[in-house]
Symmetry: C2
Amino acid sequence: MRTYSVNKLAKLAGVSVRTLHHYDRFGLLKPSIRTEARYRLYGEKELLRLQQILFYKELDFSLEEIRRVLEDPDFNLIRALESHKSALQDRRDRLSSLLETIDNTISRIKGEKTMLTDEELYAGFPKEQAEAYRQEAVEKYGAKVVEESESKLRNLTKEQWAQARQEGLDINRTLASLMHRDPTEEEVQNAVARHFAHIRLFWGNSVANGNLYEAYKGLAQLYVDDPRYTTHNGNHNPEYVQFLSRAMKHFAETRLK
Amino acid sequence: MRTYSVNKLAKLAGVSVRTLHHYDRFGLLKPSIRTEARYRLYGEKELLRLQQILFYKELDFSLEEIRRVLEDPDFNLIRALESHKSALQDRRDRLSSLLETIDNTISRIKGEKTMLTDEELYAGFPKEQAEAYRQEAVEKYGAKVVEESESKLRNLTKEQWAQARQEGLDINRTLASLMHRDPTEEEVQNAVARHFAHIRLFWGNSVANGNLYEAYKGLAQLYVDDPRYTTHNGNHNPEYVQFLSRAMKHFAETRLK
DNA sequence: GGTAGACTATGACGCAAGGGGAGAGTCAAG
DNA sequence: CTTGACTCTCCCCTTGCGTCATAGTCTACC
């Protein structure tokens, strides 16, 4: 029988010797013979099997999955392919959305040529909510606190600012996509954590003077009480606000005490 | 100054304590204070920085990249974003093509209901080239060798067969995409390795009786000599065949001796 | 002031799929 | 009998942490 040494097989198949060692150790592709010096010798069957391995590897199967597919003759290949397919689809969709975010970030940075003017400071970020919030805040905490917060914002570089605005949109999108989940779920709560830290950026250090718990809970309440806040993406969406508010309150209860 | 313990900061930001330890050790996010018991305490600036870190992490930046982006104020963020973007695009395109291949494989397997008939044995695989090749082969090596090869094929399971056919198309696509590269480049040669092992499937063990070098080089020659082989994807494409032939010969010279 | 319970610190191992290298043995040719 | 080309088996390294293990610290309650 024609046999191949590790080196030969590696060259034939376009992989490294180390890879063959690895597959051997992993139990994915064993040589048909070991010489007395423990040299590996592979036959035709192994070449074919290696081809199959490489095919599935190209499809991004893990070695473990490949082993299952090749080992078990009754294995439901179609089901494996289909579940693998949906995993790949998810990854692709995620990449697409990342690409959008990057594009937005890039154009936003390019757009921020000048230093921030007073109008820009609040423009476009949680939409006009911010302007409303400013008035609210002035009434509630006084002009001093608000000015401190604004000066904090003005100290951001253009890029930080652009990124922050982008992040706001991103957080909103993420939260909106979780709208029909339980507000107390961890994934939701982690998204809320981003929201919190983001909003935090707009608060001066002395906002609520250390009582972040009260402040954030208050904001959650404000969201449902004040009609100006019940708008998402331009259209009125009370369900979303309800969800967000509940999620925020849960966050405050469990993580801000 | 308001400070946060690891636990607090972790909860606020929705990450694990271990992650903060990791970022500290990695030099990505250091606490502003260490108590005498070496407890970590983070301030406001660190919270903001962590936000930025998480933003870039969402964009699939590596920690190393994030460090560069955040560390160096003169860092060209736009260039970083753009190069990162094209990396993501490549990944997405690759996934798209994998998804196509998977779809094809699935429908092919579903289509292969029956056992292979004589006509099917050569149908659709390197198109009609195979039929031509069969005659060629019978003349060259005799009916016996050809029948051995056919029986070898018939021993494949339906799924292996479907996969093999799919792989043939895949290899062709890959090679075609490399057409304007140097035939001796490693990437090309690895693709040729797949082609070789694939073709090998159609040869009985006694084809060329062990002299794979001669056999594969001969096939490479045949490709350019015989007009029936100069067709790719239905249309005549001598340039592709020239490329393929040269790549195959180089492969034979460097890896089949 | 003593102890339980909650936090925290450091260190080390593990994961996927090998890359790379050390140190030692093997093989064929001159 | 030596040289050069292969090959073997460890073993550490990569990324971004998860998951113990062991030990020290802080706070509250009795």
